[in-house]
Symmetry: C2
Subunit: 257 residues, 2 copies
Amino acid sequence: MQELSSRSNPTIQAAKSLQTAKGREAMGAFLLDGEHMVSEALAICPDKIRQLFVTADKAEQFASLLAKAEGSEIFSVPQHVLEAISQVKTPQGIAAVCELPPDRAIEEMGDKLLLLENVQDPGNVGTIMRTLDAAGFDGVIMTRGCADPYSPKVLRATMGSIFRVQITRCEAALSAMEQLHASGYDTVATALGGEPFYERTALAGRICVLIGNEGAGLSSRVISAAKRSYSLPMRGGAESLNAGIAAAVVMYDLMNR
Amino acid sequence: MQELSSRSNPTIQAAKSLQTAKGREAMGAFLLDGEHMVSEALAICPDKIRQLFVTADKAEQFASLLAKAEGSEIFSVPQHVLEAISQVKTPQGIAAVCELPPDRAIEEMGDKLLLLENVQDPGNVGTIMRTLDAAGFDGVIMTRGCADPYSPKVLRATMGSIFRVQITRCEAALSAMEQLHASGYDTVATALGGEPFYERTALAGRICVLIGNEGAGLSSRVISAAKRSYSLPMRGGAESLNAGIAAAVVMYDLMNR
């Protein structure tokens, strides 16, 4: 274990640069904060961890974790240096630099996909990934207008599912839908005014559920281009559902009914 | 319309006191911020609006709204006074003081209820109310450990459903469950390790779904006391679902399958 005591050290500065999307892209990496995220990553993709930073007082507590990080550089740092790297106010004594996975080819992502069109709230995006993982869907396609899946708030809300979910990003929903249709996916829009979801005819095989922006919903061109369009019942006076809630209800029903 | 130009005016100070739970209890009222919340309240319960505050530059824009507030006092205030009352950084020019509804007797709330045990995140609590309204459930029972349903963050997340959902608060989940059982409700716990939810025998009549704290889930005594206990499938590696997501999947399935 190497000691690094200065915030101005280039290794520290490089890790700190991962706080921004630009920095993540330049480095091809993202930052994991705290024991839960680091241990999930070490369990699922240990070879993707480039560097680990741990405070001296926590080195013993995290010894078994650090033992799993065979191929990674491990640095002992003072608390103020970890605070400079970290994206939370009170870091938990451990952080790691993890390689960004390459975007997947859509047709290799699996049979059950979700496409998010400009879902902007980081908490929503992270929760959707966690739910997708739990429901047994395979992956998510995200337009560039979505919250960055490797930003700190999204990562926290995924509760570790970020490492188990296939992710790819696309410029716009329509071009992704062309690829989906060419690869035999049924695209399923969720939109007010669609057919009643619970009266649908069976859906099997390759499916991609389309979820729209929190305020605007799916764009009308996306709804028109979708093979199917469904709405969930709104029995009370609520005008719509939260994007993450709609995605959850649809994914769980498609997987279990 | 009366003009009030000073923050130290007692009417303004009283409205400002609604920012805290203590102030809301003392006044028996809560604050509605912005056009959407105020217009929902005026549509559903106009007689509960005690006072309206509008900035002079927005009085014309909101004229048709103000016309619906027949029984309420209406005050024209400068922007800095509205900012003092309001709980958001940039208020939208209108706010209202609305009477707190009395807590309902559990057996009068309807046939489909939700009981939240210490759900603490205001966004979660608000989203759960919005979903409950959309799914067609009738009301929510909340332990004192839950986020206050009349706090600004919860109100915003309900998107107006606060006015359509029956709410009652209880000291602890177990005492509420005794009342529920005495009134013929089937209590349905959602818990890891429960029976498979999608293989359940039919549930009809009076039902109360139990949802636990974000981190800890339902307490073990609540799970033991529940008539039924179900778990949702976890197919990927996710360990649990967000509380609001679990509530949504269960409510929509119970209402539509």
